[in-house]
């Protein structure tokens, strides 16, 4: 066997697309495995991994469909590798069943969805944020998901690293939601050296773990069971049926309840580590523009030009869209009179904003859902109207 090389990029400036930044971020975070199926506007991610992974002894697989791509990354994760797949809306729909399986068996994996306009084949080369709810509710059953949404090429790089880290830390699939604009946008970014990056590896059982005593789904204080690689001698069972600490299904309602609650709480007890956002809200701002992904670019630029004309407006950019930043948005609603939510869909995350605002602030949407970006002037016009 060849020894795997460790990925150590020198600190360097590069001019790359968001899709390529995902590849760079994943490699920096220790990803060694990709499996997927080509689709616009995410194919550049597959192509990047096909080129780069063999260089570090990693593996690239072009599978027969997205279902298989999702299955293969979960398999690779269980075999001990950091694994990632990438797709767009139609392929994301195909991945859902096995994404639910990953949640159930607590396999750390990252799923990238470079969104395009749907439903169906839709507009393959136009941007959209139409899969926000698909990410949250696309699978059968209640379950949490972590979803991050980069708004630039730099953020595509940084949030990919974050996504890998969160997946490893919480044994939880993480979805990275780009859109066509971010995926194809070229920007100059800095790639860090590996010692500048915090890299998190999943917690594994101790080397001297007694196989007879190993509980693959042990109820630990942090609610995250140590995970053994297949082949490490601990011989455990993994199943998409609700299972007890030993990993075996017992068909009992109490077992299902315990597991449902643990899966929920392992994230909800740690929201401070998961919910990422940036904001610029001044004390006397009366309106906040709350956005994520490519819509945030327009939002921030509209607010910044508005401020030059003394508009009392601020911006709030979510980097984590799921779990939803309920507490933070409630606080924001208590602080301002109006929250404007521009989205490239018919109004998806705004439902959560309204729920969190609970009547404390007026919540207004600006929506573009046929493949065009929202213009800063549209946001400006609404800002002037409400101020």
């Amino acid at each position: 066997m060849m020894k795997t090389k460790i990925f150590r990029p020198e600190k360097r400036a590069v001019l790359i697309q968001g899709d390529q930044a995902v590849v760079e971020g994943a490699l920096a975070a220790g990803v060694e495995f990709f499996a997927g199926y080509p689709i616009t506007p995410a194919s550049e991610i597959a192509e990047g991994f096909a080129r780069e992974l063999p260089k570090i002894g990693g593996k690239f697989l072009q599978m027969e469909d997205e279902i298989a791509g999702m299955a293969a990354v979960v398999g690779a994760s269980l075999a001990g590798k950091k694994a990632i797949t990438a797709t767009s809306g139609p392929g994301f729909a195909l991945k859902q069943e096995n994404l639910g399986f990953a949640t159930m068996v607590e396999a750390p994996v990252v799923v990238v969805n470079v969104q395009r306009v749907g439903p169906s084949t839709g507009l393959p080369t136009s941007p959209s944020q139409g899969d926000v709810m698909q990410a949250r509710w696309g699978r059968n059953g209640d379950q949490e998901i972590i979803a991050l949404a980069p708004a630039s090429v730099t953020e595509s790089y940084e949030l990919t690293i974050k996504a890998v880290n969160l997946s490893e830390k919480f044994r939880q699939p993480v979805v990275l939601m780009l859109d066509e604009v971010i995926g194809h946008l070229r920007e100059k970014i800095y790639l860090s050296t590996s010692d500048e990056i915090e890299i998190i590896d999943r917690k594994r059982p101790a080397a001297d773990q007694d196989p007879d005593q190993y509980l693959p789904y042990q109820l630990t204080d942090d609610l995250i069971p140590p995970m053994a690689d297949y082949g490490s001698g601990l011989k455990y069972h993994t199943s998409g049926l609700f299972h007890d600490q030993s990993g075996f299904p017992d068909g009992k309602n109490e077992t299902a309840k315990l597991m449902q609650d643990r899966l929920h709480n392992k994230l909800h007890n740690n929201l401070d580590q998961i919910i990422l956002y940036q904001k610029d809200i001044r004390k006397d701002d009366r309106v906040a523009v709350l956005s994520y992904g490519s819509a945030a670019r327009t939002a921030i630029s509209a607010v910044n030009t508005g401020r030059k004309d003394n508009l009392k407006a601020g911006w709030f950019k979510l980097q984590t869209i799921w779990p939803f930043a309920e507490k933070e948005v409630a606080e924001l609603a208590a602080q301002v009179e109006t929250i404007i939510v521009p989205e490239l869909n018919q109004g998806q995350l705004i439902r959560e904003v309204k729920r969190a605002a609970a009547g404390q602030a007026k919540v207004l949407g600006i929506n573009s859902y046929a493949g065009e970006l929202i213009k800063p002037e549209e946001i400006r016009a609404l800002l002037e109207e409400v101020l």
Binding site: G75, A79, H237
Partner: protein, 274 residues
């Protein structure tokens, strides 16, 4: 020989109905594994959903009970991620040839080193007797109450045509042959596929008045013939019998998928060194 170490004794008795052929397959597999030189700790057994899919729960290995039809796709990920692992797939005829048929042919095409044991009871057992792609035309099923008009696959030929390098067929009436076939399949470096005829006296047998397990096994024996003898038959006679034994064996470890990928890794790194 100590067979118990390959079973999770505390998970027995199994859930299969009395007379079900799936237990015979499991038994033959364990006997084959015990004779192989495979390391139990370096072996992963992966199944889909169905009565057959439950087999992994009783086996004392790293075991993965996946979603319906996807076992081979998960297995492909496991094997590629760590080619040192022996990866075995246990799947049903519905699981492996209907919902999972695409993964089956593509894994065969890649010639990735998986050992696939397909439990063919010609029916969807777990969900109560709907027809599968392996239910013979004319048979009854809960979703074919007037007789099945679908044609069934010749799975062994399908997988051979797709590029699998070891193809065999065995049947539960002859567990000794099944064991031999599994052992040969385990040893084969490349994609190996053993179609294992099994009997389902409950979901298939009752609707088709096939009798109990003993009668079903007798019928199995009548419907099958040794591959070498089958080859001597006329074209017309061939259609009436399923050949049993090793149907195809191409020994070319260099053509195995993880071996070929490893060559790419070496090639890329040598170019880098120049």
């Amino acid at each position: 020989m100590d067979f118990e170490k390959y079973l999770r004794m505390d998970k027995l008795p199994h859930i299969w109905c009395p007379g079900c052929g799936h237990g015979t397959i499991l038994n033959s597999f364990i006997r084959a594994f015990a004779e192989s030189d495979f390391d139990q700790d370096k072996t992963v057994v992966i199944s889909g959903i169905g009565c057959s899919g439950r087999a992994t729960g009783y086996l004392n290995f790293d075991t993965l009970h996946t979603t319906h039809g996807r076992a081979i796709a998960f297995a492909t990920g496991v094997k590629m991620a760590n080619p040192e692992l022996n990866v075995i797939v246990m799947t049903g005829d519905g699981d492996g040839s209907a919902i999972g048929g695409n993964h089956l042919i593509h894994a065969a095409r890649r010639n990735i080193d998986l050992t696939v044991i397909l439990f063919n009871n010609q029916i969807y057992g777990m969900t109560g007797g709907q027809f599968s792609p392996m239910t013979p035309t004319g048979d009854l099923a809960s979703t074919a109450p007037y007789g099945n008009i679908d044609q069934n696959f010749n799975l062994a030929e399908l997988v051979a045509g797709a590029g699998g390098t070891f193809i065999a067929r065995g049947a539960t009436f002859d567990p000794r042959q099944l064991k031999k076939l599994y052992l040969a399949a385990l040893k084969h470096k490349g994609f190996s596929f053993v179609e294992s005829l099994s009997q389902c006296p409950v979901s298939y047998g009752r609707q088709n008045k096939a009798g109990d397990a003993v009668e079903m096994l007798k019928k199995q024996e009548e419907d099958t013939i040794n591959f070498k003898k089958w080859q001597q038959l006329s074209t017309e006679e061939k259609k009436l019998k399923y050949p049993l034994g090793i149907l195809k064996e191409l020994d070319n470890p260099e053509s195995e998928y993880t071996v070929r990928y490893q060559k790419i890794i070496e090639q890329v790194n040598n170019e880098g060194a120049l």
